[in-house]
C-alpha cells in the first residue's frame, strides 16, 4: 500500500471560480458524500439559487456564505486509485492574501485561475509571484468561465500568451494551461465537447499524472532539535535523546556529526522511535537521536555533518511577503522563528519593494504595506543556521512576529 500524496492549492483573483472548481472537481469525481451534497443543495435553495452552488463545499463559514467570497483557506481531502490529494482552496480577495500564502506554503502544484472575460488582474499577478517565491514547482493556469466566451480558442490563446509573457520574468519551472468551465464541468473531470480544438489533458488527468519530485532535500543533513527526552525512570535511567524532525539529508547510525552552535563533534549512537531503533532517518521523519557523548544541546540547536554546514549567521537577506495592517518598520524589532529556534531581530535595510504589475524593483517607494513583496536585510540577536530557500524549504524559511500584538506579520524566504 504505497499511495503518492499531492498537495495543491488554488490561486487567482476574487470570483474567478476557484471554489466552484474545487466543488466541481469533487462532485464529478464522486468524492462528495450524500449528506454533504444534500446540505449544500438545501443551502443553495434557501439562498434562492437555481442550481446547486458547488462553491459551498469549501466556503463553509457563515460570513463566506453571506458574502459569496472565500475568506480563509479550506482544506479538502480526496483520492483516486492513482493518488491522494490534499487541496487548499484559498481566497482571491486582496485583504486575505495572508490566507492564500498559508494554503500555498506547503503546495506542490498551484492552480491559477483566470476569468476568460477579465484576463490577468492584479491579484492574478500577485498570486503568481507568491507561488514563484514559494517555489511551487508546477503551475497550472486554468482559463475559466469559457462558457461565457463561446468557448473561444482565440480568447484562450490570447490569455495564455499574456500569462506566458508575465511568467517568463518569474522564477517558475513548469507552467501548463487549460481552458475550463468550472460551472459546467468542461475539462475538469470530463473532456469538453465544446472545445474540440483543445487537445491537452483534463484537470484530473493532469493532477493524477504531473510528476512530483520530492519536496525534500536528501543531501544536506539538518536536524533541528525540538526537545530533549529525559525519561528519569528506572528502566531508562541515563537516557538522553534529542527529539526532532529531519529537515534535510540522511542520518545514519554511526555518523560523525557536528553540533551547532557549539561546534562540538560527536557520533550518532542510535536513532530511536517508539517502534524501535532505525538504521537511518530522512525527511520528514520524526525521531529521537542519541549521541555518544553527553553534550550541551537543547531546543533550537542543530545537528549537522561536519563537512556540510548550513550558513551560521546573524545577518539575513530575505524576500518577504508582508501581512500586517501596520507597515514594516525600518529599524523596528520583531520576533523571528526559524526551524525550532526563536530569536529577536532588527530590520536593518529595506532593499526594494517589488512592483506587482511590472516585476520591477521599486527603489523609491520603500514603504512596505500589507500584501507587499519586498527584499529586506535583518540582524538577529542569535545566530541562525540557514540554507537558501531554493535549496531547502525548511531551513530556508522564517516567520516574523510582532512583539506587542503577537501577530504573524511576515513570511520570509532566505536568499
Amino acid at each position: 500500500m504505497h499511495t503518492e500524496l499531492l498537495r495543491f492549492t488554488t490561486a487567482g483573483s476574487v470570483d474567478d471560480g476557484k471554489s466552484t472548481l474545487i466543488g466541481r472537481l469533487l462532485y464529478d469525481s464522486k468524492a462528495i458524500h450524500q449528506d454533504q451534497y444534500e446540505a449544500i443543495e438545501e443551502s443553495s435553495r434557501r439562498r434562492g439559487e437555481e442550481e446547486v452552488n458547488l462553491a459551498l463545499l469549501t466556503d463553509g463559514l457563515k460570513a463566506e456564505r453571506e458574502q459569496g467570497i472565500t475568506i480563509d483557506v479550506a482544506y479538502r481531502y480526496f483520492s483516486t486509485p492513482k493518488r491522494k490529494f490534499i487541496i487548499a482552496d484559498t481566497p482571491g480577495h486582496i485583504q486575505y492574501t495572508r490566507n492564500m500564502v498559508t494554503g500555498a506554503s506547503t503546495a506542490n502544484v498551484a492552480l491559477i485561475l483566470m476569468d476568460a472575460r477579465k484576463g490577468m488582474l492584479e491579484q492574478t499577478r500577485r498570486h503568481a509571484i507568491i507561488a514563484s517565491l514559494l517555489q511551487i514547482p508546477h503551475l497550472l493556469v486554468c482559463i475559466n468561465k469559457m462558457d461565457l466566451t463561446d468557448y473561444s480558442e482565440e480568447v484562450y490563446e490570447k490569455l495564455r500568451d499574456e500569462f506566458e509573457a508575465f511568467a517568463a520574468k518569474l522564477d517558475v519551472k513548469d507552467v501548463s494551461y487549460i481552458p475550463i468551465s468550472a460551472l459546467k464541468g468542461d475539462n475538469v473531470v470530463h473532456r469538453s465537447e465544446n472545445m474540440p480544438w483543445y487537445e491537452g489533458p483534463t484537470l484530473i488527468y493532469y493532477l493524477e499524472n504531473v510528476h512530483i519530485a520530492s519536496d525534500y532535500n536528501f543531501i544536506d543533513c539538518r536536524f533541528p532539535v525540538q526537545l530533549v527526552i529525559r525519561p528519569n525512570t528506572d528502566e531508562f535511567h541515563d537516557y538522553r535523546g534529542y527529539a526532532g524532525r529531519v529537515a534535510g539529508g540522511i542520518f545514519k547510525k554511526g555518523d560523525e556529526v557536528m553540533l551547532l552552535p557549539s561546534g562540538f563533534s560527536s557520533k550518532i549512537e542510535a536513532i530511536d522511535t517508539y517502534d524501535g531503533e532505525v538504521e537511518e532517518a530522512f525527511p520528514p521523519m520524526s525521531v529521537v537521536i542519541r549521541l555518544e557523548n553527553e553534550l550541551d544541546l537543547s531546543r533550537g540547536d542543530m545537528i549537522v555533518r561536519p563537512n556540510n554546514m548550513p550558513e551560521v549567521t546573524q545577518d539575513l537577506d530575505l524576500m518577504i511577503c508582508w501581512f500586517d495592517n501596520k507597515p514594516l518598520r525600518l529599524r523596528g524589532k520583531y520576533i523571528i522563528q526559524h526551524t525550532t529556534r526563536t530569536a529577536r531581530c532588527l530590520v536593518k535595510e529595506i532593499r526594494y519593494k517589488m512592483d506587482i504589475n511590472t516585476l520591477h524593483r521599486n527603489l523609491e517607494d520603500r514603504e512596505i504595506k500589507m500584501n507587499d513583496v519586498a527584499r529586506i536585510s535583518l540582524r538577529t540577536t542569535q545566530p541562525l543556521f540557514v540554507d537558501p530557500y531554493s535549496r531547502n524549504r525548511i531551513t530556508g524559511s522564517v516567520i516574523l512576529i510582532d512583539e506587542a500584538t503577537h501577530q504573524t506579520v511576515a513570511a520570509g524566504m532566505v536568499i
Binding site: 499511495t3 525519561p231 513570511a411
Partner: protein, 299 residues
C-alpha cells in the same frame, strides 16, 4: 527509495506538532473523549515522547451521558499506561448552576460542554489544549489551523486567523489567552482506521457491529438509554449497529452495520456515501451549528 507511505507521513507530522506543543507551552493538556480520534491522539502522543512519559494530563469533559463502554475503556487505558486524568463534570456544573440543562425531546448536553471546558482550562491554567479535530470532519473544521488561537473568553475568530506558514507555529499569546492545537488535522476518517488497524490499537467495542436497542428519529438511530427522552410512539427495537463517532449518548447516531472487525469497518468506510458526522444530531441543528459552537469555545 527514501519515501514514507502516507500513513507514516501523517504520523511524522502529528508527532512533530505534538512535540512543538510540549516545547512551546508551559501547561498543555490533551482533551480525551474516549473516541477513536482521542485514542489515536493519545497513541501518537505516547510515541512522540517515548521512552519518556506523557508530559501532560488528559482532560475529559464528562457529560454524564456517556456510553458506559467509553468510560470503562478510558479508565482501563489510564490504568494501563499510568496516565493522569482530569475529569470536568457537566453534571457537577449543572448542580452548581454554571450551566442549565436543556429541556424537551431534543435535549442534549453537548452544548453545555463548552462552558465546562473553558472553566477547566481556566481553573487549571492550561495554555494549550490538544484536540483530535480533523479538517475532513466538517466544513468549519476544514478552516482550522494546527495552532488555533483563542482569546481570553476562549473564542475562535474564524475571520481573523493568524497565517500559518510551512511548519512554523506561532504560539505567542497574551496572559489569559490559550491555544487549541489539532495535530491530526490532515487525517481523514479512512486514514485513522487504516492506521489504527496497522498499529493494532485496541478500541472500544462500540465501533464494531453489535445488537442494540435503538429508536429511529428523523432517519437517525439513537441508542436507547435512561438519558434519552422518548416520545410515546417511539418504542425501542433491536438493531445490528455500530458507531462511527462516539459522543454524547443522546446525540450520537448509530449506523446499521455488519462490520464486526477492523477490516470490515475499513471496507465499509471506503464505500460509504455518508460522512461520519452525518448521523450526529448536534451538527444538524442549523447550517452553521459547528461554527457557532466553535466560536464560543467548543472543541
Amino acid at each position: 527509495m527514501y519515501q514514507l507511505d502516507h500513513l507514516k507521513e501523517l504520523e511524522a507530522e502529528s508527532i512533530f506538532v505534538i512535540r512543538e506543543v510540549a516545547a512551546q507551552f508551559e501547561n498543555p493538556v490533551l482533551m480525551f473523549s474516549g473516541g477513536k480520534d482521542s485514542i489515536l491522539m493519545l497513541y501518537l502522543a505516547r510515541k512522540a515522547f517515548y521512552p519518556a512519559r506523557l508530559p501532560f494530563p488528559l482532560l475529559h469533559v464528562d457529560t454524564g451521558h456517556n456510553f458506559p463502554e467509553t468510560i470503562a475503556f478510558r479508565d482501563e487505558l489510564v490504568e494501563k499506561w499510568n496516565l493522569r486524568l482530569i475529569v470536568a463534570s457537566v453534571q457537577d456544573a449543572i448542580d452548581r448552576g454554571l450551566v442549565h440543562e436543556e429541556r424537551g425531546i431534543h435535549a442534549s448536553r453537548n452544548g453545555l460542554q463548552t462552558a465546562v471546558l473553558l472553566e477547566a482550562i481556566e481553573k487549571h491554567g492550561f495554555d494549550a489544549a490538544l484536540g483530535g479535530g480533523r479538517r475532513d470532519e466538517e466544513k468549519a473544521r476544514a478552516k482550522e489551523r494546527f495552532f488555533s488561537h483563542r482569546d481570553e473568553f476562549g473564542q475562535w475568530d474564524p475571520k481573523n486567523q493568524r497565517p500559518e506558514l510551512w511548519n512554523l507555529f506561532n504560539a505567542k499569546k497574551q496572559v489569559g489567552e490559550h491555544f487549541r492545537v489539532f495535530p491530526i488535522s490532515n487525517w481523514t476518517e479512512l486514514d485513522v482506521w487504516q492506521y489504527l488497524h496497522r498499529e493494532q490499537v485496541p478500541l472500544p467495542s462500540l465501533y464494531f457491529a453489535h445488537e442494540r436497542l435503538c429508536i429511529e428519529r428523523n432517519g437517525v438511530l439513537l441508542a436507547d438509554s435512561e438519558y434519552l427522552q422518548k416520545k410515546p410512539e417511539e418504542t425501542p427495537a433491536t438493531y445490528k449497529v455500530r458507531f462511527r463517532t462516539i459522543g454524547d449518548m443522546t446525540c450520537t447516531g448509530a449506523v446499521l452495520s455488519e462490520a464486526d472487525t477492523l477490516e470490515k469497518v475499513i471496507e465499509e468506510i471506503a464505500t460509504t456515501r455518508i460522512t461520519e458526522r452525518g448521523a450526529r444530531a448536534d451538527d444538524k441543528r442549523s447550517e452553521t451549528s459547528m461554527e457557532d459552537r466553535k466560536k464560543e469555545g467548543y472543541f
